[in-house]
Amino acid sequence: MIAFFVFRLALLIVALLAVRRIWRASTVQGLLTLLLPFYVFVAMVRYWSDPDHGIRWHVLVLTVGGVLGFFWQQRLIHEYVTQQAALQAQLLERQPGDESDADDESDGDAAPDKTAPRATIEFGPAARLANRPARSASTQGPVEHTADAPSARHVDAEPAPRASAPAPDIAAAARPTLRDALASATFLRGRFDRSSAGFALELPAHFHALVGVDARRIESSLGLAPDTREVGWVMHENVQPGSPDSWHVRVRWLDDGWVALSGSTTDTERLLRDAQQAPSKSARLAGSGGALVGYAIAPAFDAETIDWVEERLPENTTESVLDCHALRIGQRGVVEFSVVGVRPGSQVLCDLSVRLLARNVRFDAGYAHTADPPAAVRHAGYTATDLVAQRP
């Protein structure tokens, strides 16, 4: 909002400068330009060839800025209206006693998505919704329709017995069902605020988000261990939650402290070699585990953002999967965006999605990354390159 007002102020200054130039040529023309709407175009034509009083460039800037400002204003109005509707809807729908943290309670900045599917959802095997150890050989993934999309590439490893699903038990019977968890989830749009971590995520137009509480409830319904670093999920509006092709971006906050960016190697061959040959692997990032086959998209370093796609062979499987990662480095930690366990061939869509979200992170004042850590901020003990290579 502040940026919008600054933008409008800049246009006002340009307009006043144009009026001043015309005023110097003729007081009457200056007054008419100031008072009459669109008379500026008459003045522009009148003084077109006059180098001292011409206002061609001023009019160009005002025209382009006016068009941009109009569409920007429309978007702000739309967001405000949906935010107000969301606040009222949340007050009505929030049940007492729900598990929530301060950020989930304050998600009034984001509007609930009324178009998200609810109780009539059909869903496939539970293990397909999110990736964890002991997955089956089947994979889900973004449905990327391209002419040259290769089929799933087979890794010619020894076939291993498929991991069996955990036997149901009394604890499983007490868990919410996936259908109930999805039905009670609220999809949010607009600004996804994480004030306790010092950042906010501007959700793109066709994406909506689930807060950490709803995401953990869904994971609980699948019998998965809770991820304490997960702050939410982001999904494309076209993806049906729980469908066989369902995929989502896991948003995680690695609050380990300041992470060094300078000195990070961009030698992708060395990164890959280090990641493959490491005797042990860190568990900082979400992932499929198993062996790293290669980079479907090699790491790209862009200021405070890093994105890449790994092709991995999970344990006890013969088909590789893709793990897509994007990191946004802040002063006190790293915001991680990961899509885990998608099928090969989806790397472009997957990488674009996580990279777009990483670039849409907005850090609060004092939380953006700095070249040197402030005295009050602890060091994470690893670099950005260590994260990419997943060194312990």
Binding site: A157, E269, Q277, V293, A298, L349
Partner: protein, 115 residues
């Protein structure tokens, strides 16, 4: 002054354009209808030349780059017009791995010290 104003407007437009490019591309990839299987690529002579160059690296450590900025390291076991087969060495296993030739952009030999 005029140049500065125009540059400011262009910089603002460029900053928003990059994010919008990614968004537009995502929408294209999600909503594009599935196409029929790709026909045999033309320019078979050029493809034959590339296969010959790769054949000279058989048995050597290579790095394979794909058209989507992918990277794979391993020993080249086989390369023909349809696929490239690598032997990827990992700490606890060795993986024979097949890549479709259509996505391979370049195959280069690695240094002698590389695995």
């Amino acid at each position: 002054m005029r140049t500065g104003m125009v540059l400011c407007v262009c910089a603002f437009a460029a900053g928003t354009a990059q994010g919008q490019d990614d968004e537009a591309r995502i929408e294209q990839l999600i909503y594009r209808p599935a196409s029929s299987p790709a026909a045999v690529k033309k320019g078979g002579g050029h493809g034959a030349a590339k296969t010959d160059a790769a054949a000279a690296l058989l048995g050597h450590p290579v790095r394979v780059e794909t058209v989507e900025r992918g990277l794979y390291l391993g020993t080249l076991l086989a390369a023909d017009g349809s696929s490239v087969v690598l032997d990827i060495s990992l700490p606890h296993q060795t993986l024979p791995y097949t890549l479709p030739r259509s996505i391979v952009a370049d195959i280069q030999a690695l240094d002698a010290g590389a695995p």
